[in-house]
């Protein structure tokens, strides 16, 4: 895995040096990349892993994998700018104008990197098309998320498929597509299930993260909050009034312990944990049914640990 990191980092460094000509853009762009490299690199690892699992050989895959990581980084920066959170991240310490400019540069660069990778033209066109379609889908999902325009669990799952799960699907599919030249709907299905499970896990965490970005205080509609609202008794309807903005934060903030008790007693965490685990089991079952070697299955399954 050491060579994985070195290869990805080298691809990113070379590309930024070639296209980010203005010194400040290169320096700050690289600083953002360096910060990203300290994370798990799940997406680029998934691209390389799927390329190898589907009989792809050689080092050409590192450039598309690095492109995937740039796409994710650019969308992360834009998401943080829009949500005004994750203040500790480097890009949130830059001026928003510069951070946005870097994000736009990285997003465009991700497509440029993919397009100039060393693969047959027909595979590259299909890969770039897939990436562009997913970015557009994520922008649609992000709009729904920003507007908090979610009134049912179906709306929530649709938004997750467009945003977070869709990005994981793209990382996996680009690996298989470049290896085989074909679009693999089975890979799409299991990657989507893993992405949904991971998003539900985040949303459970964000509901009970009272000190930072609690989705409750932000009135954010997610699977846990939708269940909570659905489960309220008559005496607890003030919570749905808060979510519908009929009550202000000041009117409910002192009732935190009561809110926590209602969350516990309603089964919100239990319900969403079961939903999360159901999607995770779907992922396990679908990977197990794939016609690839046991070793690759094991490695793909290990990515969810």
């Amino acid at each position: 895995m050491e060579s994985f990191m070195q290869n990805i980092k080298q691809e990113l460094k070379d590309t930024l040096r070639a296209y980010f000509i203005v010194p400040h853009l290169y320096e700050q762009g690289m600083a953002c990349v360096e910060e990203k490299l300290r994370e798990s690199m799940l997406f680029s690892r998934m691209t390389v892993l799927h390329y190898r699992a589907f009989w792809g050989t050689g080092n050409e895959i590192y450039r598309p994998a690095a492109a995937i990581e740039l796409m994710i980084l650019s969308l992360d920066i834009i998401d943080d700018l829009q949500d005004k959170d994750n203040k500790a991240m480097l890009w949130n310490q830059l001026s928003p104008e510069i951070a946005l400019n870097i994000a736009l540069g990285l997003l465009t660069l991700s497509q440029q990197m993919l397009m100039t990778s060393d693969f047959a033209p027909d595979r590259l066109v299909a890969a770039v098309r897939l990436m562009n379609e997913q970015v557009l889908s994520a922008i649609n999902g992000q709009t729904t998320d920003l507007l908090n325009d979610i009134s049912s669990e179906e709306d929530y799952i649709q938004m997750v498929k467009q945003k977070s799960a869709g990005l994981l699907v793209t990382a996996c599919l680009i690996g298989t597509l470049l290896a085989t030249g074909e679009y693999n709907s089975e890979v799409r299905e299991y990657a989507e299930q893993l992405g949904i499970a991971a998003q539900i896990k985040n949303d459970i965490h964000d509901l009970v993260d009272w000190e930072n970005k609690s989705d409750f205080w932000n009135r954010k509609k997610t699977l846990p909050t939708l269940y909570l609202i659905h489960s309220l008794t008559e005496e607890q309807k003030w919570i749905s009034d808060y979510f519908e903005e009929r009550l202000s934060l000041e009117e409910v903030v002192h009732r935190r312990e009561e809110i926590q008790r209602i969350i516990e007693q309603s089964g919100t965490i239990l319900y969403t944990s079961v939903r999360m685990r159901t999607h995770y089991y779907n992922y396990l079952d679908l990977v197990e049914s794939m016609v690839i070697s046991a070793n690759w299955k094991k490695q793909i399954l290990a990515m969810a640990d």
């Binding site: 499970a197 896990k201 459970i204 965490h205 009970v208 269940y227 659905h230 489960s231 516990e264 007693q265 309603s266 089964g267 965490i269 239990l270 319900y271 944990s273 079961v274 939903r275 999360m276 685990r277 159901t278 995770y280 089991y281 779907n282 079952d285 969810a304």
Partner: protein, 57 residues
């Protein structure tokens, strides 16, 4: 249906044990949901406050 089932389980926590022991028949949820429910309830056994527990995969 899973939603209603969870709500009835929360209303009667004694049914948790029956469910874990296979003594409670569940209708209207899929096999994978059943498996996930048993697993999540099982993972709460060693916690003092099961309703506060968070279950990761």
């Amino acid at each position: 249906m899973l939603k209603e089932l969870i709500q009835s389980l929360m209303a009667d926590p004694s049914s948790w044990t029956l469910l874990k022991n296979g003594q409670l028949q569940l209708a209207g949820i899929s096999e994978v949901e059943h498996r996930a429910l048993i697993d999540v309830l099982g993972s709460s056994e060693d916690k003092n406050q099961p309703m506060r527990a968070t279950y990761w995969f």
